[in-house]
Every structure is written in structure tokens, then in C-alpha cells.
């Protein structure tokens, strides 16, 4: 379950950025506090990062910082798009979520309904699980309720969605990303999705 980590030194070597830049981006909140993972090693305390996340993020910052100020870059990186809204019709047109899912979960909403970024995210997550064939439509309904009721409570902090099944009965859990969760042997983990990555993916598709 552990994420692939990269040490600070390796990170600077592979990306070619300097200590100063890294600390500057941390101050500007371009790199979230939670990504700085302090661990004891034989050489003393060292800082590690979730490899895939930090490499993608640094790549983005490096590409954007030529055209934008760091504060502008920060605005583009905050995990949830605060003021982003999209009409249902436009959302359908963008073809981000399958028509089947939209029909099932947003069928009753008229075309001019305006969705927040969070709502789009819920559809995206559900569609993702439907596409893999791991989740049924009824379970999707339940997942939508779980996300709606509980995802906002994380207030943008990283969390994972865990989808488990035992003897055919399914359940959804939202847990903060740094938490350890253990189950009894009868539990099958159908899917574990880091919401941060899904947010990034959806942002990439929307912007």
C-alpha cells in the first residue's frame, strides 16, 4: 500500500532544481506540506516525497513559471478549483464522463444545471469505477451519497477512497491519505483511489 517515495536529494538530482527553489515553492504553497515526509535513515533525518506526485508537480511548476508569477501558479495548483463551474450541457460535450454514467446519475438534472468542481469530481470518480467494471450502478448511487456527504469534510486535505467487498456486500470508505487501515482476511479491497490524483486528472481534463 506504500507509495513509491523519493528522497529530497534524488529529487533535486533528477529534476535539476535547487534547495532554494524547493523551499521557495513550499513557502508559496506550490508543494503541499503533507508531501514532505520526514523519516529517520542511517544518515539521520531525511525528507521524502511521494514520487509520482512530486515529479508531476515540479514538472508543472517548471513549465508554468516562465509565463506566470509564482502566486499565479499557486492559484492553478490548489487541489480543488474553488470557483470552477460548468453547465451540464457543456460537461456532456467535453466527453469526460461516459454518457451512461451521466444518464444514470444526473439524468434528472436539466441541461442548464450548473455543477461545482466537487460535483464534477464525484461523477468522474464514479465513472472511473464503472468503466473498470468493478462497481455496479446501484453501488455508484451509494458512492455518490458517500462523496457528497463526507468528501467536503476533508477541506482539500488529501484522502483516499477505499472500495471493499466482503461476501458480496460492498462498502465505501473515505480515509485521510496518511492513515493506516487494516481489514480482516475476508475483506477484498476492490479499489483504492487517491483522491488527490483523481483531482489532478480531472483538472488536467477541464483546464
Amino acid at each position: 500500500m506504500d507509495r513509491d517515495l523519493i528522497s529530497k536529494k534524488e529529487l533535486l538530482d533528477t529534476t535539476g532544481i535547487s534547495y532554494g527553489q524547493l523551499y521557495r515553492w513550499k513557502r508559496k504553497q506550490l508543494i503541499p506540506e503533507e508531501w514532505f515526509i520526514r523519516k529517520s535513515t542511517f544518515t539521520g533525518q531525511e525528507t521524502f516525497f511521494p514520487k509520482d506526485l512530486i515529479l508531476a508537480r515540479i514538472d508543472k511548476i517548471v513549465n508554468m513559471k516562465d509565463d506566470l508569477s509564482l502566486d499565479q501558479v499557486a492559484g492553478k495548483l490548489s487541489p480543488l478549483l474553488q470557483d470552477y463551474e460548468l453547465r451540464k450541457a457543456a460537461f456532456v460535450e467535453r466527453n469526460i464522463v461516459s454518457l451512461v454514467a451521466i444518464h444514470q446519475f444526473a439524468g434528472k438534472d436539466p441541461d442548464h444545471t450548473v455543477y461545482s468542481f466537487e460535483m464534477l469530481l464525484y461523477f468522474y470518480v464514479i465513472d472511473k469505477l464503472l468503466q473498470t467494471g468493478e462497481m455496479t450502478m446501484e453501488e455508484g448511487e451509494r458512492l455518490l451519497t458517500v462523496l457528497r456527504d463526507h468528501f467536503p469534510k476533508f477541506e482539500g486535505k488529501p484522502c483516499d477512497l477505499i472500495f471493499i467487498r466482503k461476501m458480496g456486500v460492498s462498502s465505501f470508505l473515505l480515509v485521510s491519505s496518511d492513515a493506516h487501515v487494516y481489514f480482516d482476511n475476508g475483506i477484498k479491497i476492490v479499489a483504492k483511489l487517491p483522491m488527490v490524483e483523481l483531482i489532478e486528472q480531472l483538472r488536467g481534463k477541464l483546464i
Partner: protein, 234 residues
């Protein structure tokens, strides 16, 4: 004690307190406090001018912040422009754009600034993260970790001041102590650190460093001790 007056206070009331009393937190335009005052709750204002012995039970937030005397903040303190003269004690984090220090700083949390300059001493339990730090140490400078673009630390002249500090606080040598110092441009003296990592590193007299990793340049004063030095990168 509070009144609507003055310009540029964004429609918020000003707060002016003096003597020995309590003040209530909240949102203000300009805050002026003189005397021995306890501020109850979080307080936010455009500008702060504090004189005397001030204690808060909550956090403090401001655009500009000036303090002479002693200040104790139970929460965190953030202000864009800060001038601190005297003793400042913050239980939470300290952050802002610019800090001009003339005195002693004690921070339980992390400390973040674009620019720090002045003289005195500091004790940061967390990470001291700044664009540039340019300080003359009159007392001890201590942090768990220091991360910077540029760091310039000198020992203040052994004046009457340093004697006073040493007398007030026995082990109060004007030296820098840190677990890890990382930055692009590091220039220090009288420093004790486990590890210093940087691109251009200058280690001055009186320093004892466990390990120095440098990218482009390393200068070491003959009066400094470095156990291990490593050149990194290309």
C-alpha cells in the same frame, strides 16, 4: 476604547488600549496597544503598533506589525511586514513577507519569510524557511532545520550587549545551531550543524559541521572543523 476614526481602516473600527487591562479580539482597522495588556481571542487588523508587555490568547494576523517590548502569542502570528524589537514568543507558527528583528524570537512552530534581517537571536523548534536571512547574532540562533535561498550569519560585535545577554542567559553564546541547513547560497560563521547542503557554501571561523555537501563552491576558514565534505551534482 474603540471608535470609528481614521482613514484607510477599511470600514473597520480602530482599537486603542493603554494602561493595564484586557482587550477583546476581533477584526480592526488599526490597533495601538500601550501598557500591560492581555488580548483575549484571535485578533486581525490592518496594522498593529504594540508597546509594553502584551499577551494574546489567540492568533494574530495583520498587514503591518510593529512591536516594542515583550509579546507572547498563544496561537500563530502572521503579518506581511514585521518589525520586532524586544522579546517575542509565539506558540504556533510565525509567517510573513519581511521581518526586521532586533531582539529575541522564540517560535514553537515553523517560521516562513521572504526576507529576514536584523540582529539578535532566535529559537525555532520547527523549520525556518526563508528567501534570504541576513542576521547578526547577539544571542543564540537555533532551529531544527533551516531552508533558504541565501543565508548570511555573522556574530555580532562583542559589545556591552552580548555581555548583557550572556549575563541574562548563561549558555547564551552568539552562535548558530541547526540540525540541517539547506540552501543555494550559505555563508555562516560560529555555526554548529549536523549537515549543511548547498550550492555555494562558505564556512567561517568557529564552526563545527558534521557533513557539508556542496554543489559548486566550498570555502572553509582554517578555524572551522568539518568532519566530512562531499561534492555533489555534475
Amino acid at each position: 476604547m474603540t471608535g470609528e476614526s481614521g482613514m484607510d481602516n477599511y470600514g473597520l473600527p480602530d482599537l486603542s488600549v493603554n494602561g493595564v487591562s484586557d482587550a477583546v479580539g476581533g477584526k480592526y482597522g488599526n490597533v495601538r496597544i500601550d501598557g500591560v495588556i492581555k488580548v483575549v481571542g484571535d485578533i486581525e487588523a490592518q496594522s498593529f503598533k504594540l508597546n509594553g508587555v502584551i499577551r494574546t490568547t489567540g492568533s494574530v494576523k495583520s498587514e503591518s506589525f510593529e512591536c516594542d517590548g515583550t509579546l507572547k502569542v498563544a496561537g500563530s502570528l502572521s503579518a506581511s511586514q514585521m518589525r520586532m524589537n524586544g522579546l517575542v514568543n509565539v506558540e504556533g507558527a510565525l509567517s510573513g513577507e519581511w521581518l526586521r528583528l532586533n531582539g529575541l524570537l522564540k517560535i514553537k512552530g515553523d517560521c516562513e519569510f521572504e526576507r529576514v534581517e536584523g540582529e539578535g537571536g532566535f529559537d525555532v523548534d520547527g523549520l525556518l524557511n526563508a528567501g534570504s536571512i541576513h542576521l547578526k547574532l547577539q544571542g543564540r540562533g537555533k532551529a531544527r532545520e533551516i531552508g533558504v535561498e541565501s543565508l548570511y550569519i555573522r556574530q555580532g560585535a562583542k559589545s556591552l550587549w552580548s555581555k548583557v545577554w550572556k549575563w541574562l542567559f548563561p549558555k547564551f553564546n552568539p552562535e548558530l545551531q541547526a540540525g540541517v541547513i539547506e540552501g543555494d547560497d550559505i555563508d555562516v560563521e560560529h555555526t554548529k550543524a549536523d549537515v549543511i547542503r548547498g550550492s555555494r557554501v562558505v564556512i567561517g571561523k568557529g564552526s563545527v559541521i558534521g557533513r557539508v555537501e556542496y554543489g559548486t563552491e566550498l570555502q572553509v576558514h582554517p578555524g572551522a572543523t568539518i568532519r566530512e565534505r562531499v561534492k555533489t551534482g555534475g
